[in-house]
């Protein structure tokens, strides 16, 4: 019961961060600022969702699997953000490509 309540709270909190990240993606003025919003908010959002799901996990293997997902998404997210930022630096904003 307590675990279920905590799961709901953690996942809802995570969704708030996903929503905030999306709001930043839409509202921020340029590619770089949008990258900030995506990587950082999604990292915390996914972290909270994963924490919530860990409370429902069937055993240590499931918990580790969820943790692994978070670490891999984190590594992929920060690397992708850097690559998009670098590409924007050398080639200009994407809008100007058209």
């Amino acid at each position: 019961m307590i675990a279920n309540t905590l799961t709901v709270i953690l996942i809802l909190a995570g969704l708030v961060f996903f929503a905030a990240g999306t709001a930043g993606l839409l509202r921020f003025p340029d590619v770089y600022s949008r990258l900030h919003a995506l990587t950082k908010a999604d990292n915390v959002g996914l972290g909270l969702v994963i924490l919530g799901l860990m409370l429902q996990a069937g055993g240590p293997a499931d918990i580790l699997k969820l943790f692994l997902i978070w670490v891999l998404v984190l590594a992929a997210g920060t690397t992708a953000a850097h690559m998009v930022a670098q590409r924007t630096w050398t080639h200009g904003e994407f809008e100007s490509d058209r």
């Binding site: 905030a20 921020f28 900030h36 990587t39 908010a41 915390v44 850097h82 930022a85």
Partner: protein
């Protein structure tokens, strides 16, 4: 004279320890492969002959592949680095969520240059990766050791956070340059 002798002694020991590091690396790789198999497929699947073969081959592959430059990690500094990262990246998420949802959109984006005194390879890569998850900073470009960093709020003194992170990564890795300067 003494200096030459100790030098030769050290290189002999280095060769021996390199062979030992190779085997240790193979053992760790096999262990990691086994744990990964267990996480993804369960304990029963790990005891299948095919899984054991894959685990052994993973270990063997790391013996065949060329070794990278030895990199010493200070295990004692790792928990501190992880705690720092969890705290800072959580604050980073809260910071960005607050700014994104604020009707006034309080951001003042700018670029800063930062010279990182970390050796190339894992320490610098880790620095650039973690830096993008700290509050308000995003690594854009690296030229030599000169980093171009995008900051979301130029009034928030991002250099202080970057120094702090650099110091912590410094503490977690042995710097090969610094070591060779200190030993003679």
């Amino acid at each position: 004279m003494v200096r030459v002798a100790t030098h030769r002694d050290a290189s002999g020991r280095a060769g021996l320890s390199r062979a030992r590091t190779r085997w240790r690396r193979a053992a760790w790789t096999a262990l990691a492969a086994a744990v990964l198999w267990w996480i993804l497929a369960g304990l029963d699947a790990l005891l299948e002959p095919l899984a054991l073969l894959a685990v052994l081959l993973a270990g063997a592959a790391s013996l065949v592949l060329p070794t990278s430059r030895p990199l010493s990690v200070r295990p004692l500094a790792i928990p501190g680095l992880i705690t720092y990262f969890l705290r800072a990246s959580f604050l980073g998420g809260i910071d960005i969520a607050r700014r994104a949802l604020d009707p006034k959109l309080p951001i003042a984006p700018d670029f800063i240059e930062y010279r990182a005194d970390l050796p190339h390879g894992p320490p610098l890569t880790l620095f650039m990766a973690v830096l993008s998850l700290l509050p308000g900073t995003l690594s854009v470009r690296l030229e030599g050791r000169l980093l171009t960093v995008h900051v979301l709020d130029r009034h928030s003194h991002p250099e202080i956070a970057l120094r702090e992170l650099e110091k912590r990564i410094h503490a977690a890795f042995e710097d090969p340059r610094r070591q060779s300067e200190e030993t003679p």
